[in-house]
C-alpha cells in the first residue's frame, strides 16, 4: 500500500514536470530568448500615451520590452553574416483604427535594444497626425516603415560602402 502511494506521488510529480516542460517549450515564459524566428503577441494601443511606450531607451533589455508583448521572445538573428544580433517580431494593434501592424525589434549582440520598424499604411499615418504630438524622433520612409532608433553616442563607429552585387541575405528578412 505504501509502495503504491509512493508510485502515485512519483507519477503526479512526473506529470507536473511534463506539463511544465511543454509550457516552457511552447512559450518563452519569463526568459525572452529563442533560437529560431518566433512571432510574439500583440500590444494594444489606445492612445498616444500607449504609443509613447514604444519609445524604448537605448540599450533597453528584452525583459523590459517583454512587459508589453505577450509571449515575447527574441531570436538569434545571425543569418548570412558573421555578425550575431537578436531580433523580435511582434504586432501592434491600434484600437482606434482597428488595424494591426507588424513590429520588428532589433537588438545588438549583447541583447540591448537598438532600433525598431513598424510597417504602416496611410490610415495609420493619418491617425498619427491626428493623435500624436511628440518630440520623439520617429522617422517615416518611402518604404512604408516607421523607424525608431534612440539617440546614442555611436559616432564614427561605422563606415559604410555600397557595392554592386546581389544581397546575400534571405528574402524573409525583407519587409
Amino acid at each position: 500500500m505504501k509502495k503504491r502511494s509512493v508510485i502515485r506521488k512519483f507519477a503526479i510529480l512526473m506529470s507536473f514536470f511534463m506539463i511544465l516542460s511543454v509550457f516552457m517549450l511552447s512559450s518563452c515564459g519569463t526568459v525572452p530568448e529563442y533560437k529560431t524566428k518566433h512571432e510574439s503577441g500583440t500590444f494594444k494601443i489606445h492612445n498616444a500615451a500607449d504609443f509613447d511606450k514604444l519609445a524604448f531607451k537605448s540599450r533597453t533589455s528584452p525583459s523590459e520590452i517583454a512587459r508589453l508583448f505577450p509571449d515575447f521572445c527574441i531570436y538569434d538573428n545571425k543569418d548570412g553574416s558573421n555578425k550575431l544580433d537578436w531580433a523580435a517580431s511582434c504586432y501592434v494593434d491600434f484600437v482606434d483604427i482597428d488595424s494591426v501592424y507588424k513590429f520588428d525589434i532589433w537588438f545588438n549582440a549583447d541583447k540591448e535594444f537598438m532600433v525598431w520598424d513598424l510597417y504602416i499604411d496611410s490610415v495609420f499615418l493619418d491617425w498619427l497626425k491626428l493623435n500624436y504630438n511628440s518630440e520623439i524622433n520617429y522617422t517615416v520612409n518611402e518604404f512604408g516603415t516607421i523607424t525608431f532608433e534612440p539617440f546614442g553616442n555611436f559616432e564614427d563607429q561605422l563606415l559604410g560602402s555600397f557595392e554592386k552585387g546581389e544581397l546575400c541575405y534571405p528574402r524573409h528578412f525583407v519587409a
Binding site: N108, N137, T145, D156, L158, F162, E163, K164, Y169
Partner: protein, 70 residues
C-alpha cells in the same frame, strides 16, 4: 516626424559605380545618423532597401585596431 532624404544617395546609386560614405557624409546627405545596428543597416534599413533597388549591397567596414609584435 523626420524622413530620411535619400535623393543624394539615389543619384550616386543611379551612377552605377561603387562608392563609400562616412557617418558624417551620410548624415549630411540624409539628415539622419546612419543606423547603428549593423545587421539592421545592411538588411532592413531604408537605405539598404534603396540600395537593393539599384543592385547594390551595403558593406560595413568597422574601425578596429590590432596590436602586432614587431
Amino acid at each position: 516626424m523626420a524622413t530620411p532624404k535619400l535623393d543624394s544617395i539615389e543619384r550616386q546609386l543611379k551612377a552605377g559605380e561603387p562608392f563609400s560614405l562616412t557617418n558624417s557624409q551620410y548624415k549630411k546627405s540624409t539628415g539622419l545618423d546612419i543606423p547603428k545596428n549593423s545587421n539592421y543597416l545592411v538588411r532592413n534599413s531604408a537605405v539598404a532597401k534603396k540600395a537593393r533597388i539599384y543592385g547594390y549591397r551595403i558593406v560595413i567596414h568597422e574601425r578596429e585596431i590590432s596590436f602586432e609584435k614587431e
